[in-house]
Symmetry: C2
């Protein structure tokens, strides 16, 4: 279970590269396999499309069970909306007794935050707006709770072509608890080709380009813009 960071070779760790180098079979979502193409020469590479997560894990486990060293690739951190948990669950459910190592990576939220400044300096929450696996009512309650508790929030899977309402509703919830001038940062394809980073605010969030490859960072009541950076002050006297 290898996390390769947000995507570019520069954000990969040595541990991730070592694991790929030591593997014979590399499995992953096809778009992520492209990102490690410089490391997979001479190896068997097995790619599949989005929503084939269970199938990918099963392939990786089956190959590992036959004695091969397998690297299952996740972008960002495999433990944050990645496939680390699914791999463990499936190994147990299918009785596959292979050793598993989980290699953390720079998370998409951390990478987006770094490009924007320092929005996550204080307590924050990470919430996915995708209701494929979690009921929307649960997501909505979590948004209410963290908005009221004045946490900075990183929104994953904020908007797809089909799914526009969740971001609209999330923005309205935050707007009930924070001024419209609250800084909001959007990082799309961070560290990859086509990287696009925008600093906006709550009142203008819905006018910005946001897609499934974006992370949306919503500031809290103390967050501000300083010299073009998005910062949540930690409380030091400056």
């Amino acid at each position: 279970m290898v996390g390769i960071g947000p995507g570019g070779p520069l954000d990969r760790t040595h541990r991730a590269e070592q694991a790929i180098a030591q593997s014979r079979v590399v499995v992953g979502y096809s778009a992520y396999l492209e990102l490690v193409r410089d490391l997979t020469g001479g190896k068997e590479v097995i790619g599949s499309g989005m929503t084939h997560e269970v199938e990918r894990c099963e392939t990786a486990l089956a190959r590992a069970e036959s004695g091969e060293a397998v690297a299952l690739i996740s972008s960002g951190d495999p433990g944050i909306y990645g496939m680390a948990g699914l791999a463990i669950e499936l190994a147990s459910a299918r009785g596959v007794g292979v050793p598993i190592e989980i290699i953390p990576g720079v998370s998409s939220a951390g990478a987006a935050a770094a490009r924007l400044g320092a929005p996550l300096m204080l307590d924050f929450a990470t919430i996915s707006l995708s209701d494929l696996l979690v009921p929307w009512e649960t997501i909505r309650q979590r948004l209410e709770a963290v908005a009221a508790a004045d946490l900075v929030v990183a929104l994953y899977n904020p908007r797809s072509k089909r799914r526009v309402d969740p971001l609209t509703e999330a923005a309205a919830i935050f707007r009930c608890h924070r001024p419209g001038t609250t800084p909001v940062g959007i990082g799309t394809a961070v560290g990859r080709e086509g990287e696009h980073v925008v600093l906006s605010d709550l009142d203008h969030l819905l006018e910005e380009e946001v897609d499934m490859g974006s992370v949306v960072l919503v500031g809290n009541r103390t967050s501000k813009c300083i010299s073009g950076w998005f910062v949540t002050p930690r409380g030091y006297k400056v």
Copy 2:
């Protein structure tokens, strides 16, 4: 502003190492400078103790202003309870117009999670129990909110020799909303010498060794132990 990950060379990214290689002056908390000693030969290295964060940033900014390439080191991710925000705030307050780049790293929570399994697979919050910079009442309200919203939680700065009560109070808050058998993972000095990782539960958390170098991961109502791993299932059918 360079994040070096939780500490070991294997968890460093290429981008972090490149920035250190290109710098002439390396500034940081002395314990973290030890962790990059393999990269700082021939450079000027300026270390200082804990609680000297403002002084460290000022030194780094002053040296940068005099035209030198400076690497200011943070362990983990510099944007998560690190010094990225302080550096931006001080540069603005002191009118220092040097270019700043923030280099993200593997966060301590992400690294601890990977050793324990996959506790952060779903929505989670990150909360520091240190009341040095944030009033305890604010922290307490945030704990209440995220405990009630069934978020997995990563607790930073959970306990020091002087400060024992916050973790006791946090455990009691979670216990009001989750069963005592809820998995709790503790990662201490992850990726460093003396690494210590324990899987426990809410009822036994206070008996475990926890210090300022620990991250405590508290599961939500769906988290469970699977083959010795701590997993929060994301909701896939397995």
